[in-house]
Symmetry: C2
Subunit: 209 residues, 2 copies
DNA sequence: TGATAAAACTGAATCTATTCATTTTTACCT
DNA sequence: AGGTAAAAATGAATAGATTCAGTTTTATCA
């Protein structure tokens, strides 16, 4: 059915064709990359495969991510945010502050444990960002974790369970400890059990103020 | 002067020709890599250049390091140990425990600050080791830092300046904090000033037990 | 001393991420 | 509608790390 003059509508208020195409393409790229990373492993997946699966040229990938590593962040950072939220909601409750913290953080660790190679690649790039444009997004996730820790601590103080004066500072220290211990685990310096033990001991000490 | 039968000595007790050659070659490789990394930058230096400068084939490099990243560790890990020792010796003294800790850790930061690109490459590979054979060496450096922190803390306790029950645990927490904050700085999430401020506040809090 | 096997070495070939000159698509204007 | 310039997309070309089949060196032993 050919379009006639009568078909003309008001200029579409929404995103134009160009922007829509870009989003579609980005979604295809992210979807293809996620599927391949998860089914074949990060290292085994080539950009050529991702481009083919997404139906774009290889060069096109670089319009959306600055490198293969950056692509991992593009693909999984949103998911990370979801994991943080979910793990916070699902944390052990009612329970002592220490148990809540452990439960929350272990939820994050459990997510990474499902695919260690991918977790390594993701954390590696999160830690050593190659694309400065991603800084804000990464900071947001880190801040979200710190904020969740802070909420748990405040709850403990309100319950009279613990007595901390500088909650913000303690929350940031706890995040540092969590982050570094998680890296040590992902890099093979610690077993999962050692990670749990260390975190347990360190958080417990920090709670005693 | 041609070698005669009379020249024959007892079988050399020391390393044989094979081992000596290997060491020579490794020294040449390490020297060439260090020189090029420092003069041109890590990213600009190719393995071809290193091999040429060391007078070996490119394939030979992979008999000594498992990758370009691993080569950085091979080249600079020894130096790191020296830096830790030197920084410990040169630390502010006599001074309060907090100042000694700051002085010690800032010495390490100052070393990295001399060449940020190299520091990034080194810390990236230390954190996400690709060559498992290097695990022991890396652990040794980390343990050395923790041990130095512990010594300073013990000195403080002996002086009656601080009152910490679990010194080992606190030392490990401090290392975690230091490590993570240093990564955040190297990755551009923190300025040098923020790094200093954060470390100062966190260490101070940890000292108050 | 010569023969033999193991170890070390080599650099050309391979494999992929990344770049870039060219082409295609889109938005905008008359 | 047609013309134009900017934006997006493309994939062949490039570059550089890594591999590997073949060569050289070293140690060992008859």
């Amino acid at each position: 059915m050919p379009r006639t003059t009568a078909d003309r509508r008001a200029p579409p208020a929404g995103p134009g064709r160009r922007e829509r195409n870009k989003r579609d393409k980005q979604n295809r790229i992210i979807g293809a990359a996620r599927a391949l990373f998860q089914s074949q492993g990060y290292g085994q997946t080539t950009l050529g495969q991702i481009a083919a699966a997404a139906g774009v040229g290889t060069g096109t990938l670089f319009l959306y991510a600055s490198s293969k590593e950056d692509l991992v962040v593009l693909v999984f950072l949103d998911e990370m945010s979801g994991v943080v939220d979910a793990s916070f909601k699902k944390r052990a409750r009612p329970a002592a502050v220490l148990e809540q913290l452990q439960s929350f953080l272990h939820g994050i660790v459990a997510y990474h444990a499902k695919d260690l190679e991918l977790a390594r690649a993701l954390m590696k790039e999160l830690t050593f960002l190659s694309n400065p444009e991603r800084t804000r997004s990464v900071t947001r996730v880190a801040d979200a974790i710190i904020e969740r820790i802070r909420e748990i601590l405040e709850w403990g103080v309100a319950q009279g369970e613990i007595d901390l004066s500088r909650i913000d500072l303690v929350a940031r220290i706890m995040f540092s400890v969590f982050y570094q211990q998680q890296l040590a685990w992902l890099s093979g310096f610690l077993s999962r059990e050692q990670l749990d033990d260390n975190l347990n001991a360190m958080l417990d000490h920090l709670l005693r103020g």
